[in-house]
Structures are given as C-alpha cells and as structure tokens.
Amino acid sequence: MKLIGKNITRLDSKEKVSGEAKFIDDYPFNGIYGLIIRSSIAHGEIEKIIFDKDFDFSNFVIVSHKDMKNNINEVILKDQPFLSEKVVKFIGEPILIIGHKRKEKLKEAKKHIEIKYREFKPIFSIEDSLKADIKIFGDDNSFKTIISEVGDTKRYFNSNKYKKFKRSYKTGHQEHIYLEPQGFIAFYKDGEIKVKGSMQCPFYVSGAIKSINDEDIEVEPATVGGGFGGKEDYPSIVGAYSYLLAKKAKESAKIIYERSEDISYTTKRHPSFVTYEAVIAKNKIKAIKVKLLLDSGAYASLSPVVLERAITHCLGFYDIENISIEAKAMATNTPPNGAFRGFGAPQVMFAIERFMDDLVKELNISPVEIRKKHLPNKKSLTSTHALIREYKEVQNIFTKAIEFSNFEKKEAKFRVQNRKNKSVKKGIGISLFIHGTGFTGGGEAFLASEVLIELQKNGKVKIKVASVEIGQGAVTILSQRVASVLNLPISMIEFATANTKYNLNSGPTVASRTAMVVGELLESATVKLKKRLVNITHIEFKNKKEYLKAVEAYFKVDDVVEFREKFEQPKDIFWDEENFKGQAYLKYSLGVNVAEVSVDLKTYKPKVDKIYALFDIGLAINPKLAKIQTQGGMMQALGYALMEKIIHKNGRVQNANLSSYLIPMASDVPKMKIEFINTNSSPKGLGELPMNGTAPAIANAISNALGVEFDSLPITPETIMEKLNEN
C-alpha cells in the first residue's frame, strides 16, 4: 500500500499525549540562567554602563560585544549587531547578557546596572520614516526599494478617457504567540558546547554561532512548541546568547523568554500600507499603480525578502496587462519585524481582495462578476512578467467555490434579511488567493538543499534532513513520501532529529517548502536506494517481506548505505534576480475562502458564522493532517482579521501579555467546510496558504453586512463602531 495520500496517524502523537515529549525547558538542567539587558530608549547611543559598586557581581557572568570576534548577525544585510556596541535603535535592543546559577538573582542584578544614553529623536511611523529627516538606515531609511514595470501604465494614466479608482489599505503587527516561548540551552561538557532549543532552522542557528568566533557548534532542536515563522531567524539570536554565556562561564547556560519579553521584543508580521490606483475601462482594470510600504522595524532582518513576496502576490493572479509597482521596506525605531506565516502575502492579499470588493461598489457589479472579469487566461502575466501557468486551475477553483458556498443565493438572502433585521446584520465575502511555494526567485537554487537517507542493517530507512517538526506534521509526511517509494509500512522509516553535525542541510523549515521541495528530494534519494537494491540483488521487491529479503541479500555483497540528492533548479524556471523578473516560484498553491458573518449592532461585535474553503495544494500527502493545518491557519488568520493588535506607545509595546493581546479561543471557531481539489497533481505547499485568504474574506463579509468599506485590520468592535459613526 502506497502511503502517500493516506491518513496515517501522526508519528509523534504518543510521546506528546503522555506529556513525555521534551521541550527545551523540560530538560534536566544544571548550570547558569541567562537574562538579556536591553535598551530602554528607542534611538540613541550608549554613553556609559555603570555597575553598582555596592552590589556583588562577582558570581555573575557578563557577556558583551567584546566577547565576540564578529558582532554582526547577518540575516540578509549586515546591519544588525548581536549585542549593541554603541548605537541603539529600538526599545529592547540587547546590550548585555548576564548569567547566574540562581535565576532569582538575575532580576535583582538588573536593577543594579545603569545605562546612560544620549538620546536621538526616534521614528515610529512609516510616514516619518519616508520623510527621512531622521536617518536610521542609509540616506532614505529604506532597507530595500523595488520598482517594477510590466506593460505601459503611463499611457493609461496620462489619458483622460478612463475612469480612475484609488484606495489604500493598512494592516498592523501580528505576533505569533507560539504557545512555547523562545528558549535555548547551551550544554557545556569537557570544554565542548552543544546547543539545543526551540527553532525551525538548526543550520541558521549553527551558521550564526559560527559567524561569531568561527566555532563549529552542534545544534539540534528539542520538541518545538509552534513556530509560524517566529522561530525562523530569531532563534539564532537566543542560541548565540546561550552559546556565548556557556563559553564564558564554562558551564551550561539556559535562556528561556518570559511571555511578556517574547511579545515585546521578538520579530512580528510587518505592518503594511498598500495603495492601488487603477484605470478602469468596461469593468476591467487596464492599468494599475501599486505603492507598497512595509514597516521593517529598526533592522533589515528578513524585510527585503518579505517585500519581494509582497510584490509577487500583490495582484493575486488577476489578469492585468499594465502594472507599475513601487515598494519599500522602511526602517522605524521599533523591534525588527520578520517572518510570519504568509511572509508579506497576507498583507497584500487583504489589500487586493478588499480593492476588488471596493471596486464592486464603484462599478455596480457583483464580487463574483468582477473577479470573473479578471480571471487569468493563457496569455496573462504575473507582476514579474511570467506567464500564469496555473490559469486553468485558477478559473476552476473560483467557479467551483461559488457553487460550493452557494455565494450568490446567500448574498441575496442576506440582503433581504438585513432589510428586516435592525439589530443583527449578516454579510458574505469572498477572497481568491495564491501562495507561491518555496523560496522566491533564485532562492531555492541559492539554498542548494541536500537530503540524506541511510539504509540500516535491519532494513529501516533513516531520514537525515534539516526539517524540524514544529507541529505541522513534517516528520509524518516526509516519512510517508519515503515509505511510498519502497512500498513499506511507516514503521520501517526512522526520522533523525535535525542535527547540524549528522544531518544534511535540506534548507530551513519555512516557505511552505517542506512537503514539496524537501519531500521531492527525499523521494529521489529513495528511488536511488531502490534502484541500487534492485540492481544488486535482482529482487524486484513489491512488499515488506520481499524488501527485507533484498536488504539481506544486499548486505552480503555491498555496503553503500548513504543515498543523497541535491536540489537542481528546474530548466523551465527562469529567474532574473537583478531585474526581479521571471517565474518567481516553483509552483503556486491556490485558494478561495467564503466567509459568512453576523454583526451585532448593539455590541458592534462581529461573529464569523461559517467559512467555506477550497484549496488547491495538489496531492495532499496526508489529507487529514492537511485539513488540520488549514483549520489552524484559518483560525490564526481569523485572529489577524478581528482581534490581534500590538499597541505601541513611544516605541514600547503596551499589551505584552495574553490578557491584552488576544488570540482566538475555542468559542471563536466558526463552522468550517473545507475541501481539497486538483489532488491528482504532485504535492505543492500548504503551510502558509490558509493564512492568506481568511482575513480578506471576513473583511469583505463585514463590509458587505454593513455597507461600509473597511480598509484596515484588525476589525474590532471599536473599529466597527467608529466606522458606522463616521457614516
């Protein structure tokens, strides 16, 4: 039985359900605890660090930039130090790490360290950053600027013949709230350090640590309690700090973030400000100007790539011939923003799908009609000048979704209901969205991922890659892909924890690439194993029994046990990095969401009653686990739409706890009807797709219910009240 496409029970359930699975803070620990001393100002220079003479610091280990040969944490640019030497650019910027055997002593010691600053004027908004009176980065405060043209927008915008339509949309920060906070232990034994912690990308962590003192340190994840992108690059910092402490103390060192620290200082989803200006003729967008601004925070971090993904997704797959894009990732004196499921796509998919619905009011056609008008055809080009190869699938999923959700009938029904019902208004909204899977542009070629499988003497096949189980089911689905090639039961597959010393670097656990990119490489490596077994033993094994006979025969005459495969850029994918043109992604996953909402006009509280979701992710390797991923992703997107908001005041997060940063609870769960289509094609990515469509569908539904245009997220009861009072 081929396991690919089957609903086998996930492999890590037993140890998790018994409470035996060890997250980093569960490991027995004997050593010192670490605390990060951070900047209390948003912008300035450190003049002096004063250690109180009347406090005994003798049993404390203190790490500063002086303990590093290289202090630059190079994520993409070389602008961010591990520890500040002089300049500080956000409240919370790390300056020192202090360690002590007794955890309680750390907070006490912190009170006896005084840092004197010379303060500069800070920038807290994209608008102020654009003015560039105050410079945080370069001359114009932009970490990355991309200007892109397809066709001839000038011709349309300079003409007086056409109707023009302009709208702007705004989204705020979103915090991952992985239930397990950031944490690391650097184990010190006999002069050697091994680093273990909560992370998505062990090779990023080992690479960051190596860049400090050129030391090769073994890094491995513990059981990880959620990531969502928040544990993509940020753990490199925490891992590096634990390593530095352990090195200086010559003892094991542990750093676990408190929730308020995690919310206050770690990376978040980039706030966005997107403006579309379209030239319309015969209900079709002939030309469009897009201005895309992201708030990157104080350092570049992953912003350049987030910006790239935002550009490649900002028009969905709509057929628009003339496109002009100006995009910037702007610096502000707030904590650097980074990866969060969707990585720029949720922001722009909210904007474009709201824009389509706002156009609907202007043109007096329906949300279905306007999207139908813009569905791609075989000549349609993306915003990076490549053919939309999935045009048929896009047409198909949209048509099916209208039927699946009974959209048009419901819309009419709600319209009638709303005339009669004065206290509760009902609305329905749709979103058509995409997610390019794998790294953008030349990214996968740059990663040059490699996988390794190892044949054991007992016939079991051991997978040795860099993919980390963060709850998404990576261990299970990758094992299914390998088992399927050999027609074996899952018990014959072993999955070695992603260890930087013993496994190969198959790339980071991000960008919805695990099932598709890493999975495909593993399949190829397994085919190599199968071919060698068959060639050497001449046993064309069809089941476990025959396979074991073949393995026995094989080991009598051969001893090659390692089988590898390396990523090669497909010949038909062309990408020009310099001009940002070409096929931006290996494949695209597609989705449609339809949301039904009720808004109570007494409390202004919006309630999502039902979500219909159609997803095209190709073949789902484990359909049950895939469905659960979509449910979780859509709930996270529901939070983004309706309740998640970081409140900043003068650069400081005001709501750094779970009683004031609200995420969805069980009672927020709407009825969901989810279906996967196009399941006969090969697997595409799933992890991020569900994040992209739910917020715009809900926003469109609320706008539909109240007859008012909502142009920002989150849409809280306060937002609704203000908007209704305005109108």
């Binding site: 998790k16 359900v17 409470g19 035996e20 803070d25 929730r259 659960i628 995420i663 069980a666």
Partner: protein, 151 residues
C-alpha cells in the same frame, strides 16, 4: 517555609521560599514536566493541574497556598486520562503538543461534571485553554468522541 502536600498520591515535604510558584515546584523540583509554562499569568492553560479536585493554573499558585493540598498532574492521571488520550490520538488533536496536557486535564474535568457531548457546550468549556496550531477543531472532536464512543 515548610510545606506538606500530596502530588499524584505521593506525600511531599519541602522547604521553599514563600513566593515560589507551584508551577516551578512541580516542573523543576519534582520533575513533572507534562504541565508547561506558556504565559505565567493564568491565561493560556498550559500549566493546568488538579488542586483539591479543582482545575487551576499552577503558575498562579504560590507556596503559601500549597500546604495540605492534594494535587494531580497528567503523570498521576494515567488511568482517568487513558480514554481521552486515545481519543486525542485518533482525532489528531495534537500538533506541537505544548497545550495538550492542559486540554487533557480540562477534558477529565469536563467529563466528570458534564453529560453534554454537544460541540457548542464543549467549546464554551474550553475557553481557558489556548491552542495556536490546530484551531481547536480536532480537540473539540476528540472530546466529543471520548464522550460518545468511549464512555
């Protein structure tokens, strides 16, 4: 201060600071790591335990309140939680696993004092426990299944 209390039917006698949290005593002194610290402020439910037959967030209990208490963690409820664990596995109610112990104890408590296996009633009972990975759906289904099929 000296405290005497029962954890999973075993008598414990400890000498701890007055402001030591129960979550720290259970996780670090007694090595009972099934309960987790997700927020330290009683919002997420990951540190849920039974305290004198009531469900509490152990991060909010201090040493001064513990003397004489009867405490149960997931480790001590193997028998009571067995059916629920099976239901969680069958309905794929586990993803990263960090919230799992809290939800299982919540379910033990819910099944003790509720007979409704309706999803709407189960949902309301779960509001003190947060899950970020799975969207609650499969947890609700697992509890429904445990009540209908395994009771």
């Amino acid at each position: 201060m000296k405290i005497k209390f029962y954890v999973n039917d075993k008598l414990m006698e400890l000498d701890v600071a007055e402001d030591k949290r129960l979550i720290d005593i259970l996780r670090y002194e007694l090595k009972l790591t099934s309960l987790k610290e997700g927020c330290g402020e009683g919002e997420c439910g990951a540190c849920t335990i039974f305290f004198n037959s009531k469900l509490v967030n152990s991060c909010l209990i201090l040493a001064t309140q513990i003397d004489g208490a009867k405490i149960y963690t997931l480790e001590g409820l193997a028998k009571e939680a067995e059916k629920i664990k099976k239901a969680f596995i069958k309905k794929e109610a586990i993803q990263c696993g960090f919230c799992t112990s809290g939800f299982i104890l919540k379910t033990v408590d819910y099944m003790k004092s509720n007979s409704s296996s309706k999803q709407e009633d189960i949902k309301k009972a779960l509001d003190g426990n947060l899950c970020r990975c799975g969207g609650y759906y499969n947890i609700i289904e697992a509890i429904e299944y445990a009540m209908k099929k395994l009771n």
